[in-house]
Symmetry: C2
Subunit: 449 residues, 2 copies
Amino acid sequence: MSEQREITVQLIHEIRVQIGRKDTAKLQDLIDDLHVADIAEILEELSTTDAQFLYQFIAEEKSAEILVELDDDLREDLLADLTAKEIAEEVIDNLETDDAADVIGELSEEKQEEVLSLIEDKDHASDISDLLTYPEDTAGGLMAKELIKVNENWNTLQCLREMRKQAEHVKQVHTIYVVDNDDVLLGSMSLSGLLLTETNTPIKEIIKTEIISVKATEDDKDVANIMNKYDLIVLPVVDDMNRLIGRITIDDIMDVVKEEAEKDYQMASGISEDVESSDSVWAHTRARLPWLLIGMVGGLLGAKVIGIFDIRENFELAFFIPLIAAMGGNVGVQSAAIVVQGLANDSLKLDSIFSKLIKELGVGLLNGIICSIIILGAAFSLGYGLALSLTVSISLLAVIVFAALFGTFVPLTLEKYEIDPALATGPFITTVNDVLGLFIYFWIGQMIL
Amino acid sequence: MSEQREITVQLIHEIRVQIGRKDTAKLQDLIDDLHVADIAEILEELSTTDAQFLYQFIAEEKSAEILVELDDDLREDLLADLTAKEIAEEVIDNLETDDAADVIGELSEEKQEEVLSLIEDKDHASDISDLLTYPEDTAGGLMAKELIKVNENWNTLQCLREMRKQAEHVKQVHTIYVVDNDDVLLGSMSLSGLLLTETNTPIKEIIKTEIISVKATEDDKDVANIMNKYDLIVLPVVDDMNRLIGRITIDDIMDVVKEEAEKDYQMASGISEDVESSDSVWAHTRARLPWLLIGMVGGLLGAKVIGIFDIRENFELAFFIPLIAAMGGNVGVQSAAIVVQGLANDSLKLDSIFSKLIKELGVGLLNGIICSIIILGAAFSLGYGLALSLTVSISLLAVIVFAALFGTFVPLTLEKYEIDPALATGPFITTVNDVLGLFIYFWIGQMIL
């Protein structure tokens, strides 16, 4: 009943074998009733030449949509095999405007113009070329032009007639938008609402005027927050004059949410580029090296800090270097993570920076006091002597409070200057807290010991 | 045109003032045309008693939906103020089955039964009580009962008539499901498809039989992956006999995706409970303390490791303790994060554990060699002597390779035993790598120095 099929290692292997044998009949058999998303997954698993070979045998109505599902790299490779005419007729013609713009957007400017000029449906071409003018990370860059709109002065019968005309270009109807003579968005109607009313009811009587819309220039993350907050499945996009120019569906927003969450997560884990486990060894090395280098600079600074104080005299201070360094880093990351997440969810906008720092001071003091009491008891009972135990305990309290404040302050400051606050999580804050923590520790140690 | 209104500090302040004055007319004025999601946001900002006071004045058709939008704690407080009869008539009656089940699910079992018995619409009550039997984190726990289904043997005219009947209970129609006489799901039709065909076309001629569905027992994260992969806005849920029993819409899945991403992010940052920046100081302390305690145990173990070796003899080894400890932690977290993300996206399922470890070995070796060459040059030119520089360089290579392998191995092993692999990120892996890294460092140091 369903065309879902588990993509197994066996299936991939079978496809590789048949590509080797160039058995096109068998290949078509294997992928024929798979969903485009599944075929895309298979193509990603193959080598580029194998993927290019297999791609030729995919039915036209599927091949365009598969391109949309692919990773950028492979899509580029497959598009490179096609002429501008093929792209226009076989790919773009079968795609909705938003997906079409995404595909064309990746071509060279020269090829973009060539493809656009070869699209037969001139309305489609001009819609796509219009979408290409919006930056990718805005509402305009996310929206599609396909939508059903009706005039406020019509009645439901005219509506149905007009909708039948418009619906040819629109695969799935979510909402019917109501506009005035100047295309200004006035409200919406649900399709089911239309089915339930008499055929000659004026639109004005059944229009729902409470409608949430966004400007085309709105940031994609804000669009995601709005759709999420108001539980919207589709969101109309308007220009500065409030004229309806497109709509965004939630499946595109889901990708924004996932990408944003993944980016923050990777940042917090010290990965600087967007990599997936399937990427090459070299891509992984490149993505991870920058933060490791920062960590090394921190380590060298740490060595300098330890060098300032006479470690030979107070060699037992060395025992707790790992503890102090680790705790400063841990606390800093915790505080920064809470801020970054709050900023991403928009839930922090109502508090002042000052009130947030006060709160973190409270959390830091509470955690600091608990930890320093425990470490005092633990270190002393493990036989490290009262002076050293006291040093560790007092330093730990100072380090935890400092790291909590610093971890809160840095991302808030970055956000204020419109730098991604997620930069403050991960190795950067760990490293700074390591170094400063060591300084506090040795300074207090020298006074007490 | 839109009922969005920025929730400002001023608005919250104004509402607080009017609550103090008990000026109910002004209050109603202030919140009257706000969206339910905005009113929920305002209630969250107020004290519990203020929120309870304001909640009384919210129109009934909005008050039920606001409850659904609220955090669990406040919802519980507001529900505690209502009798079972009020909950049944004012809340549950105005909600779709999935939201109604969520609200009722939080009441005591006794009150649940009382509320269910007081719901006037017996079908609604039995639908809700049915939904309550599914665990929250499964497809059944996410689905709603409201859907439009038609029989395969009907024609489009019968369809429209039946739909008008069913549509009374269904707010938004996304897809029309086609079933056989035993309710077995056969396929779907789009509402627009129905509008475009002649009124006496048999359903069998326009049904789309390629339909993706899930079983009620499917895990919510898998449901999210399926809806995301196939770009679905609504997904039908079937029982073991393939009978249609409900549908899941993407806005509910969006919450699953966000929660999952936040949980992994907090885990990686050393936060063990789900906290938001607006939670109390005590909640934050509680959420962060467990990982700090693990970090302290690690620190004490580190002190023991350093104590095993004669630090007084080779006191200069102390200089690079922070560097070795930090790098082991950083590399381990990077590797673990890639695995956790791959597992969450299902993109890892086709590779074997062995091939992943081989790849990480490559990344670890590459990063390790680059870092160890740099640190050898840096340490030597900063005057730390060749023997110490060599010790640091060789240990760093060993630590990075080991941490990369360990960071990959642990989350994969946790996943195998069905423990959340995200546990392996954050302070746990940092701490273990700290301690083992120190051991490697001092061991090599003793041999060289």
